[in-house]
Amino acid sequence: MRKKIRVWFATGICAAAAALICAPLLMIPSGSLMDSVEMRRILAPILGEGKGFAVWHLIPFYPTIGHFYRLLIESPAFYQLFWNTVGMTAAILAGQLVVGLPSAWAFAAFRFRGRDFLFGLYVVLMLLPFQVMLLPQYIVLQKLQLYNHPAAVILPAIFSTFPVFIMYRGFTQIEGEILEAARLDGAGEMQIFLQIGLPLGKMGIQAAIVLSFLEYWNLVEQPMAFLEEQAMWPLSLYLPQIAVSQAGFAFAVAVMVLIPALFVFALGQDALEEGIAYIGVKT
């Protein structure tokens, strides 16, 4: 009985926390259905046009799907950018898997001098804000003739140290003995990596994929700096500066951006759950 109460208590708190986090997000779907006149009227105090306080109608008085029509039907600009974003994010994730994974494995499985120092350096490079790296990376890209080309955003992202850091955590779960045993059986490094490393680190990989996706799905700074041609821009630059008059439209864009993210979460979550369960069995 006590156990049931505890479970109820726990779900209660978590539900409250989730609700608190999602409450502001409810403004997005409601905003996307609100036409600009109503939007201006309720936000007048914020625009310095009225006294009193702004109020938000979760259910708009005059709902309209005008924004969605304008976004999805009238102009194909949204899709152009949508596919740009999808393409870029996919390329980056794939690249990170191909490059980041072995690096993380190398850090986790091998002992070599200066490993910790190098890993520390990786972490610092991960933490450094982009503003600092803007100029030198611009010079490098200029020399590689990659400026104003999608690769200018994709390549630096592929070699980012962030996924390495996360995947490294996944691999550290594996105790050294298993490795030694496998090596003794004469398994090649590659085989060890594929047979033992990958399945064990699956959880870390999926976490890295989800978090990387989050990171690069809404990338703003790099494309704005390195992509001059608007035709290559990602979705996040479609409306970075939103004036109140376009708020409705911006909310509609946000809804369309959230949908794929939801799928990825769910799938990523799923994989995570599975990974966790799998690991549970193994050890």
Binding site: R40, F82, V86, A90, Q131, S245, V281
Partner: protein
Amino acid sequence: MTDREIRWKSGQKDRGLTRSRLYAALLAAVMCVGLLGCGSLEEEIPMGRYADREVKLPSGTFTYMRACPDGSYYLYGLDTNLTYVDAQGESREKNWSWETNANIHVKYEVGVADNGAAVFAYTPKFWVDQELEALWLSGDNRYLYCYVDEAGKNHALEPHGEGYQKGTNLNTLVFSQKGELYAASANQMYRINVENGEADSLFATSGQVESIVFADDVMLAADREKAYFYDLTAGKLLDGSSVLDEFIKSHSSGGLVMTLADRDRQADTAEDAAEAELDGAGGTQILYLACRTGVYRYIWGGSIIEQIADGQMTALGDTQREPLALQALDNGEFRLLFSGNYMTEMYYDETLPARPSKELAVYSLEEIGWIRYAGQLFQKEHPDVLVRYETGMDGDNAVSKEDALKNLNTRLLAGDVPDVIVMDQMDMEQYADKGVLRELDGILQPYLDDGILYRNIVEGMRMTDTEKIYGVPMMVYLPLWLSEEMYLEGEDGLDDIVAGVELARQKHPEGPVLYTPYPKDVLLQTIPVCLPAWTKEDGSLDGEKLTAYYEAVKKLWELDSAGFDEAGREAWQKNNMEYYEPADMDMADIGFNYQYNAQQNFGETWLQLGFLMTPQVGMTGIHVEKANMAADWQQKELDDEVTYGAYTGQADNVYWARMIVGLCEQAKEPELAEEFFEALLSDEMMRKWWLDRPRNHSGLTIRKDSLSDILDISNIEFGQTMGFKDPTGINYPDFWPTEEEKQWLYQMMEDADCCYRPGTMLEECAMETGIRVLNGELTPEEGAKEVERKMAIAMEE
């Protein structure tokens, strides 16, 4: 979950995997479609155009070239000897005794035959024959002629004959292939026998014949109106070609030269030539014509003139040079002699891109119509230059000002520097300190010395620390108040404005006075004239001035609101709301050019503070984008005139600098940038802009002569484009400045010396805090402290 259960789940998972793998494949396919979308194909540039290379001329200045069929040519200049240059390029001078006493004769025209014989038209310096001298002195400068055969033996040539008019000069002397001399006077064509001077007149011409070519036995003589075909054997005029006449008529300005070539020797151009036959003349000849727009080909006797070379990117297109003679060489190339002792050979080159080679990079934060227009004009005049005009932010897309500046700084630091920067909305001092900008004192000195530009305005741009000028505004706005009667008397600053508004308020208790529906408007109208006074010499912020400013602005706001009760103000703001969106209006575009359809409710406002933006609109009906009250009042037939005047805030003689142009230190094309800068400052550019686009509000030009020219351009010349049509379609007539008003405007331009540049950090802080002061959150003192605090951090950096 028991082990079995998990395995079962995982097992099932394996079978399930195949279907999910299918979905994964589908997903991958969709993603690669996205990837395809990103690539951009390389844009291919059309290749191949005519280019020209300079040919080194023998010493001396040459003004005449006689092309010989075998590719060699004779050169002759008034102070040089006749020089023969053979096909390989070696030149031999012909030394004739007659030449030696050159100093006694002033030579004018010359005609050279293929074999080197020549005829000169000259006038002796010392007249022997009194009668001829008399003729000469009487202004009829009649030439004497001398024939020199190929051996150098010369004898005087006295043209005579029954058709020959003695008084006229033979300005064109040409030898045919057979060595006969044909000469043309202003209206008559002659054939002159070189031995005895016997001249028989062939036909009359409408103008002076300038070019003569011979095809077998047909002579083509062309004046500026038409081409005459004359059959030498039959001795009669043939009917002309209307196509050729039309071409000659429209292309002879700026020099038109022609030459003839046998078609069979012009191997490559022959097979695509039309097979037209001129009766009797055997159409084996091609006539080449060269003029400013390029080289054209006319198949003898045909009816089409094709352009085979574009003059733009060659010496032909150069407006300073005029083609004097043309020779068609065998391999489709052409040799051209130009005025100014310059000879080129034009050849066709596949490898050259059809695009110009040099590039001039012009950068500005926002799109400025005038700069783009100037760039296009500059490019038309300099065909070998491509003007690339980049803007940091283009209107609709969403790059913020800081992001655009960040991109620009990245490129500056990385060395990819534009040649010309227009620094509206940018912080000029900062770029000047960092050495990005070039000091313009050297270029501006001649302009200032002979008083072309308004000295005070240019001096206003001088940096306080380095005492150098790094940017010059092309246009300026001048502060101007406008009201139905004399509310603002003198020019003693902010208090005068407050007093004026109080006066207007007493007169009109109801409704608005200054027309400021939102707090932001009061600030918009007053900051430009006060901001320059807030920074002390040492660059720090002057707190009291800022406090005084906020107090005055608060009073203005209360005065303006006094005309309303609470509900009234709300209603008034509401009906302004749909055309006027204060929220997304930031300081960048307070230049009163936001879409402001206040004309309807203009009648209620009595005092307007604005900026004069268009020079050629009269004072009596000052058209200030925001305050074209006059036009409104005029329609209400108010009997009294509109009064107007200059106003000052805490800083006086303020001018609003627009289109501040600066040149970059490490520009790739420094002299080209300088040339562009001078083109921008040229009177021609200023006038063209106003003539072409009279209805624009880019401001008053800082060139004295252009400003007065523009103001003098009579109203009629603008004809249908006068008048300003506001969105609702009401057409407001503009009023033309009277003479006295023009002087008043020139005087204001003379003494405007305090520069206001929008878009600085201080202005943004003052604006934000100002709104909080007017909303009552902060008292003026607190507001001033708040701004000081924020600026402290900025200064600190």
